[in-house]
Symmetry: C2
Subunit: 199 residues, 2 copies
Amino acid sequence: MADFVAPLQDLVDQFRRLPGIGGKTAVRLAFSVMEFTDEEAAAFATAILRAKKDIHLCECCCNISTENLCDICADEARDHSVICVVEDAKAVLALERVHDYRGTYHVLGGALSPMNGVGPERLHIRELLSRLSDTTVQEVIVATNPTVEGEATAMYLSRLLKPMNITVSRLAYGIPVGGDLEYADEVTLHRALEGRRPI
Amino acid sequence: MADFVAPLQDLVDQFRRLPGIGGKTAVRLAFSVMEFTDEEAAAFATAILRAKKDIHLCECCCNISTENLCDICADEARDHSVICVVEDAKAVLALERVHDYRGTYHVLGGALSPMNGVGPERLHIRELLSRLSDTTVQEVIVATNPTVEGEATAMYLSRLLKPMNITVSRLAYGIPVGGDLEYADEVTLHRALEGRRPI
């Protein structure tokens, strides 16, 4: 007996396929599932299947949605002249939590990363361009992550969109609120100085 | 939109119920499931349901098993006169990896922990006693973990079994092989000295 009994080993192997879950954690999770009631296990299994079956991308902004159009794109009260371009659905959720932004979003589904073979054709950039040609969009806020890939994507988009006579902006860089100058890295401090504003 | 769309939020909530999985990890795992193919998602869901449905406890040793008797209890070639008492199925697997032990096991399903309301009646001790009355068991090796709970359980078992004229032994304590005396804790060193053997 080198392994657990087959059904348990199977479950361990399934957990191991998830990102950031190693062998020991997979065993711990599989054992905890065995302690579920039948109803709990069924609910877990159903949630996995439903997440795959019921969720697809919004036809307009490529955000995850259960309908053809996501709640935000379908909302007439939102300002459809502003599009905030983000890398993934998690960023949409983060921005929505602020309750400040009333425009729409466009989810790229990642960032340019030639090293990993992610070129513009792998992102939802074509869908963004078709939105820009159809509607009366006035501003595109590029809110990709402040990483090398996110920066490259922002640069690529700004070059692509500038000729279309659309305002292209980028989220402000600077020291995070509640942060301490002492612990801020040099690049962030440099950007904070560069982006200083009169008070 | 405070949450993700319902099917995704559902899956996030399911992952959060697993031990050691916090909010951010649950979101990461749920998103990775969404990137599964349909077949992969189905395999994951099936593995969960099968682990619940097909696995039960061995009638004899209370280890996890797909049959009435687990492979070890059903194996005629094993020495049924020795029983190694462990806390859980993971310990059985660890001991089996050594390929040294040819006896059988008994899985308690935990350790005594009055603080958490785990008394002797919550462990598979009754099943152990019935095995001892039926068969010609000569030795019980208590291999509960070297924790406070494991020690208490070992003490309880030894008091219970000694009057039955059965040899009760405990795994040796000492410095782990490959370890460094410098980093060994005092209690372990004390036990290592106490358990010294002539060479």
